[in-house]
């Protein structure tokens, strides 16, 4: 069996073949639909092969969704990342991390639909938040927090923060504490230790974290419908794609919008990862050896 021998020399034998079922599954249900969608988006119901894209970028009701989505996703992601750093820096020294992290995992497991329903009740004009604000005399009228930009923003913050925080925490815990101790011995105060030691080591992780969180917030859907103004300020790109697919049954147009959504995410992710290289290149573990 020379062929078998030759293959196993290169690491391909019975065990390697175990990867095949899962790989074929992902190819069939992820790669193929994507390519199918790409081809379908180039076969519009009417007009030339780029008609769907031309329609998207000439109709303000459609291309405006990109701006509206970015206007929600970028601030929400940035806020999440910025807040997660000081919290993670504190929590990593805690002994009983488990309870806090468990509480913070709650919103991830509850999912966006439940958060939307909870916030409708909690932030509404008769909700506890407005009631408390008025009770403390901070506002005279209930502030409007649902069915507008802020409702969606808050829900993105709540569902996004745990995710960002846990990722930041795992990156922060990966930094060797002896590096900071050494800097402290040399007389660096907290602020300069953070700026010159932790932040450069963290930059890479933060860039990846930004990308992962951004991609999630960019595809906001249920909360933009339930908590926002789906015909107005929070008409995000996923709503446009959904409308095309399941209300107008124009799968070709829907695929085109999905492709545009994917490419917009790709561009931002590539830009962030490209900028990362300018900050620091090297291992984040440090220390040993």
């Amino acid at each position: 069996m020379p062929l078998r021998l030759a293959l196993s020399r290169r690491g391909i034998d019975g065990v390697t073949l175990l990867v095949l079922p899962a790989a074929l599954f992902v190819v069939a249900l992820f790669v193929y639909p994507f390519l199918y969608g790409l081809v379908l988006s180039l076969q519009p119901k009417a007009g030339g092969w780029l008609a769907n894209y031309a329609k998207f970028f000439s109709d303000p009701f459609l291309y405006g969704t990109i701006g509206k989505t970015l206007w929600l996703a970028v601030p929400a992601t940035l806020l999440n990342i910025l807040l997660s750093i000081p919290v993670a820096m504190r929590v990593r020294r805690m002994h009983r991390q488990r309870l806090l992290t468990a509480i913070l995992v709650l919103p991830i497991t509850l999912g966006t639909v439940l958060i939307a329903e909870g916030l409708l009740l909690y932030l509404g004009p008769q909700g506890w938040l407005n009631r408390a604000l008025m009770g403390f005399g901070l506002v005279s009228h209930p502030i409007r927090l649902v069915h507008n930009y802020w409702g969606v923003f808050i829900s993105l913050f709540i569902s996004g923060f745990p995710f960002t925080f846990l990722l930041t925490l795992s990156y922060v815990s990966g930094i060797d504490p002896s590096l900071e101790r050494a800097a402290s011995t040399l007389g660096a105060d907290t602020r300069s230790r953070f700026r010159h030691i932790v932040l450069p080591l963290l930059a890479q992780g933060l860039a990846i974290n930004f990308c992962l969180s951004f991609v999630q917030t960019f595809s906001v859907f249920p909360s933009a419908v339930l908590l926002g103004a789906p015909a107005g300020v929070t008409r995000v790109i996923s709503i446009a794609a959904y409308t095309a697919a399941f209300e107008q049954y124009d799968y070709s147009m829907a695929s085109a919008i999905a492709m545009i959504m994917g490419f917009s995410q790709l561009i931002i992710v590539a830009a962030v990862l490209g900028a990362r290289v300018l900050v620091y290149r090297g291992p984040a573990g440090g220390g040993k050896g």
Binding site: L18, A22, A23, V26, L110, L167
Partner: protein, 276 residues
């Protein structure tokens, strides 16, 4: 904290804690608001409802046909958990134990469905499933939900498998065990904690997976989270309290499994992607 910290450092530390406290407080209050509303009679212009009742749970159960919906949910979740284990664990084993040409490409193939959000690939996927006549049925929902969970199981399992000493397997081979027997008698017991952890996370994620189910389901294949979405979407038609009763039922279904899962896994794994 350590002695000798300046006032500003302490102030900074406490403001960080106040921030965390504020977040957790609002989060718990939001959940409490749903629970209280589902148990209240009339709630208008006061801190708490006028009285408490459990009748909304019965009316929600009938109105939303929660018996059927829960049955579908468990069918979908059960199938997704079993199938993603069957597909994912062997693939993770191969990736952990063998170096072969194109391995990086295969790993990338498994990373992509976790990096691309469900909405983006859900629409082309739903289109393909509709063309194949699978969407609108329970099998379509199961297939769609497997797309992110199979890679998830693989990426969670790889480190688990890598930490098992290959000499244990070599010894079993020496005594004449084939791959199948090796799997059943040696690997499965050693990997059981890892498999359990991965599958519990798949379970929690699948109960909460909205987008993929929403795109591919039909009238008879709605899961709980999609039923909840429709109820909130059409709010006003039904009593808010019975929607919240359904929300509480949904919450309990997820939280029970989350609590079980947290006994076996580190919370960071729920965010869990490839650790490196």
């Amino acid at each position: 904290m350590r002695r000798g910290e300046t006032v500003s450092a302490r102030l900074w530390a406490s403001s960080v804690w106040v921030l965390v406290g504020f977040f957790v407080l609002n989060l718990l209050a939001m959940i409490a608001a749903v629970v209280v509303n589902s148990l209240g009679t009339r709630w208008f212009n006061t801190w708490l409802p006028q009285g408490f009742t459990t009748k909304w749970y019965f009316s929600a159960w009938d109105e939303f046909q929660l018996g059927d919906v829960l049955f579908t949910t468990f069918q979908v979740v059960g199938a997704v958990v079993v199938l993603s284990g069957l597909l994912g664990v062997p693939a993770a084993y191969a990736l952990a134990r063998r170096e072969f040409p194109g391995k990086r490409l295969v790993v990338l193939l498994f990373l992509l469905p976790l990096l691309v959000p469900p909405i983006t690939f859900g629409i082309p996927l739903a289109t393909v499933l509709y063309r194949a006549g699978l969407a609108g049925s329970i099998s379509g929902v199961i297939l769609a939900n497997l797309v992110p969970t199979v890679p998830f199981v693989i990426l969670v399992m790889i480190p688990f498998i890598e930490q098992i000493d290959p000499r244990v397997e070599a010894a079993a081979r020496v005594f004449g065990a084939g791959t199948l027997r090796l799997f059943i008698h040696v690997l499965a017991p050693l990997l059981a904690p890892g498999i359990l952890a991965a599958l519990l996370l798949v379970l929690v994620r699948t109960i909460a997976m909205f987008e993929l189910t929403f795109f591919t389901d039909g009238p008879t294949s709605q899961t709980l989270v999609v039923a909840l979405y429709y109820a909130v979407y059409a709010a006003g038609v039904r009593a808010g309290q019975s929607i919240d009763a359904m929300a509480v039922i949904y919450m309990v279904t997820t939280l029970v499994w989350l609590l079980i899962a947290l006994r076996f896994v580190n919370p960071t794994q729920i965010v869990g992607r490839a650790r490196r």
